[in-house]
């Protein structure tokens, strides 16, 4: 088999894996958008915030340590204990549910029946607030996150591909875990949305508030639930990205990569978020591999956006989005 083709195959596989991580973030967007019609700009920051909180709890960091020290002249930074990963994840989830409740209580309850653009602006505000809040609470330094997920080259794939092609593929174990987790997450979300009463209620609320009320659905309950689920998805994405590249504030920028993913997949489709993520992941890796050397590289920075732009022109609803029909 020609060497170039084997390389391309490896690039393709790595692209798929990267795509899964994009899809994880995009999922959070789709979920809130489907359930409440809000485009949640803060989804990326929520992933960052959950990862920060998780590290903080695991390491026994004192929240607001800098603030406390500055005010009282103390020198406290750590409680001096370590929390096991699983327990810390549970605590972090509790924090995200709390956050969902507060966000609903303080912001979105008061914006019922407002234009989508106003809700969108509110989430931008939320994003900036949460970023600053995370900074004050846990500090701005880059942190290492290790919840015990396997990392490094998968030797089995390396060896077996070496036997076949005379060239071992480099596939990160973490990417494989991320793929499995994403598959489980999507399955769970689809089952939840399609087959449970709460899922049906969630879709109902997204569609029509008045009608939902008239069949006995509590809007507040559903909204808190939706933001909690989005918080959960953010936590999963935060764990994956945090483990891969450290918990740092540039994590919130991965939210930007989710935008082209959503334009490709459609804002309202869960499978769309997955497929969109994979296409962007594979597309940008292969493009870099094939065209990159000709134009001086760094195509990964813009490829996704150009692809999204092309989609906007020819298929604005995305691959799986609901068709936009205007009745005149």
């Amino acid at each position: 088999m020609p060497e170039q083709l084997v390389f391309a195959m490896e690039v393709f596989l790595n692209g798929l894996m990267a795509g899964v991580l994009y899809a994880l973030v995009a999922l959070g967007f789709v979920l809130i958008y489907k359930a409440s019609g809000i485009f949640n700009y803060a989804q990326g920051v929520m992933a960052l915030f959950s990862a920060l909180t998780l590290v903080g709890i695991m390491e026994g960091q004192v929240p607001f340590a800098h603030l406390i020290n500055a005010i009282f002249g103390t020198e406290i930074h750590h409680f001096g204990w370590h929390v096991p990963a699983l327990l810390a994840i549970l605590f972090t989830m509790a924090v995200m549910v709390g956050l969902a409740w507060v966000v609903n209580k303080l912001i979105f309850r008061h914006l019922v029946n407002q234009e989508p653009i106003i809700l969108f602006m509110a989430t931008i505000g939320l994003a900036y607030f949460l970023e600053g809040f995370g900074d004050i609470m846990w500090g701005a330094d880059i942190k290492k996150l290790d919840v015990g997920l396997p990392q490094g080259i998968n030797t089995w794939i390396d060896e077996s591909t070496f036997n076949i092609f005379d060239y071992g593929f480099f596939i990160d174990n973490l990417d494989i875990v991320a793929t499995v987790v994403a598959a489980l997450l999507v399955t769970a979300l689809v089952i939840f949305a399609q087959y449970t009463k709460q899922g049906r209620a969630m879709r109902a609320v997204a569609d029509d508030h008045q009608a939902a009320l008239s069949v006995g659905i509590s809007l507040n309950f559903i909204w808190v639930m939706v933001w909690s689920v989005a918080g959960f998805v953010a936590l999963v994405a935060g764990i994956m990205w945090g483990t891969k590249s450290g918990v740092q504030f540039s994590l919130s920028l991965i939210a930007l990569k989710a935008l082209p993913v959503l334009m490709l997949g459609g804002f309202t489709s869960i499978p769309g978020a997955i497929v969109g993520g994979l296409i962007i992941g594979v597309g940008e890796k292969l493009f870099e591999f094939a065209i990159g050397p000709l134009v001086g590289g760094a195509t990964e920075n813009w490829f996704a956006y150009v692809l999204a732009l092309i989609f906007l022109v020819f298929r604005p609803q995305g691959l799986f989005g609901e068709k936009i029909i205007e009745r005149v």
Binding site: K197, D207, Q210, L213, V215, L219
Partner: protein
């Protein structure tokens, strides 16, 4: 007049029961505008009760008070023999009061079947996990709910569109789907906000038939708002007439038809 607390029998032989809901001296204001002024009436079990009046008379406001979308400043709502505290609309719905809307409020993105299934939310009790893995109680519940829903879909003759997304349906059918969703809740009171509004003659006849059949078949108590006098007089057992937020008449269609205040309100009267 009808004052027997134990109900009465209609001309066509239907048994009407005791009072299930009573509005006592309801006053509803929006700022300085008085939408409803000191209105009292009751709804009896098994009857078709109409609220009529010219545009802007406060009919829809009254329906919104019953369904909890508005809370009146003064007056009491009694439901099933107990005074009802101020409630949110979803709490009222869970007590068994279902409604439709004048401008149709359906879940446009969902299929007809899913729309009608949302009406069953009150009857679904299984835990979230049990529903997700489709086990035991949850499965039985889902099957039972589906049976009720299919029966209603059959009854309202919308089988052929069960899987169609509601957004694609024409107006008349949407109205029928909305009625189906409200019925699915097996409500003790069904509130219909202008069920015939915007319909042609044929659709109106269909809808009238369904309203009568629903009442006949399931014994559902129905309170409806309508400004088409002809339809109301044919359908209802008793009629409340409103004008400018006040009650100007209450009684059987015949009594109301011969009420001078009602005639004035509808035909206009010369004021000196």
């Amino acid at each position: 007049m009808l004052d027997a607390s134990e109900g009465y029998t209609t001309e066509d032989g239907r048994k009407i029961g005791g009072v299930v809901m009573e509005m006592k001296n309801i006053t509803l204001r929006f700022g300085g505008v008085v939408a409803i002024q000191d209105i009292s009436f009751d709804i009896r079990e098994g009857e078709i009760r109409a609220i009529i009046g010219p545009n802007g008379a406060g009919k829809s406001s009254m329906l919104n008070v019953i369904s909890g979308f508005y809370n009146p400043q003064e007056g009491e709502v009694w439901y099933k023999g107990a005074k009802r505290p101020p409630m949110k609309p979803y709490e009222v719905a869970r007590q068994g009061i279902a409604r439709t809307f004048q401008n149709i409020a359906l879940f446009e993105g969902m299929s007809v079947l899913d729309n009608v299934m949302t009406g069953r939310i009150r009857q679904m009790k299984a835990g979230m996990l049990a529903q997700a893995i489709w086990k035991g109680k949850a499965e039985r519940e889902e099957v039972e709910n589906r049976e009720v829903v299919e029966k209603i879909i059959d009854f309202l003759e919308i089988q052929h569109i069960r899987k169609t997304p509601v957004g694609r349906l024409p107006y008349g059918l949407k109205k029928r789907v909305e009625l189906a969703r409200a019925l699915a809740a097996e409500p003790s009171i069904l509130l219909l906000d202008e069920p015939m509004a915007g319909m042609n003659v044929e659709e109106k006849e269909d809808m009238s038939r369904f309203v009568l059949d629903v009442n006949d078949e399931f014994g559902t108590t129905i309170a409806l708002i309508e400004h088409d006098m002809g339809v109301v007089m044919d359908l209802s057992d008793r009629v409340v007439v409103m004008d400018y937020g006040k009650k100007i008449g209450d009684g059987t269609p015949d009594e109301v038809r011969n009420n001078q205040a009602v005639i004035d309100a509808y035909l206009g009267v010369a004021h000196d």
